[in-house]
Amino acid sequence: MKHMTEEELIAYREGVAAQRAVIVRHLATCQECRAELERIEAVLAALDTLPVPNPGDDYGRHVWQQIAPRLPERPARWWQAWFEPKRLGALASVAALLVIAFLTGRITKQGPTGNDVANKDQTRERILVVAVGEHLGRSEMMLVELSNAEPTDPTQKRVNISAEQRRAEDLLDENRLYRQTALQEGDTALASVLDELERVLLDVAHSPEEVTPAQLEKIRQKIEAQGILFKVRVVGRELQERQKATTPGPAQQSPTKSERNKA
């Protein structure tokens, strides 16, 4: 039997296959093509977890500066807003706009609900859940590294933590936005952990660039006393569960997208 080509399978996954029924029939009987589709799916699913291209990356800036003005006018196109050049300069603009996008999604949901809105809303929730999860992961890493920080030169009495500080500052901006969102969404458990994390991040950000071992020990003790690493891990895990729950199954994802677009 003739297998589907990669092009046909990608078109199917993208919901733009011309002979959809033929592909569906073939997939029903062909294990090999199903496995191939799964491999395509796995790459696309991984890509879907990218919250948004980093605004610091030139490609994001260039691409969107070029295409944004050419895009047809329409309301609430969150990805257009994300890449507005004037916003790119703002601190943590991605995080800010992510939250705005998320909230906008929530607001539109209160209008006439259809599959379309529900799907987009789910996508937004997934994006937010992934973003907060990654934020917690980055925070955890920074705190772990800080806990393990030692003088680069053993003869030196002081430990340079400026790298961790810069990261703490960036994380602080993100953290505030996620905490606000969590509060607005009524997720008090998440908000409370983010609140504790924020205080630890503040401490780190406001410490001197070079600390004595004793000062570093104090920071470590604070991190430990609050059990913040443990809490961050627990919440991170919870978010992963939530992410699983909101991730649409591969089978209906692309057809839904294409159907949506026809409407």
């Binding site: 996954r13 090999e32 799964e38 491999r39 890509l47 291209p53 990356d57 890493m141 991170g236 997208k257």
Partner: protein, 95 residues
Amino acid sequence: MTLVHDAAPTPERLAHNIELRKQMEIALAALSHSERTAFVMRHWEGCAIEEIAEVLKSSSGAAKNTVFRAVQKLRLALQPFVGRGTQVRVMGTES
């Protein structure tokens, strides 16, 4: 997919996810301007092929092709990092 969601993040998992993320960003950056535009419009917004064609100032057929090329390139770049099934089958073969 390879982003590991099953357990609390270990340093290894974090490192792996960070690496995958980096590779995804590199792969996206390696696409041509129109491929990236088409892919992002399709995947981050679920735009119709006609909308993508409008932005690319191309036909629907060409836009479809651009999406296909983008996915194909991303796949080539990322398949090795996305867990099981790193072998890409030679497509369209008879069996």
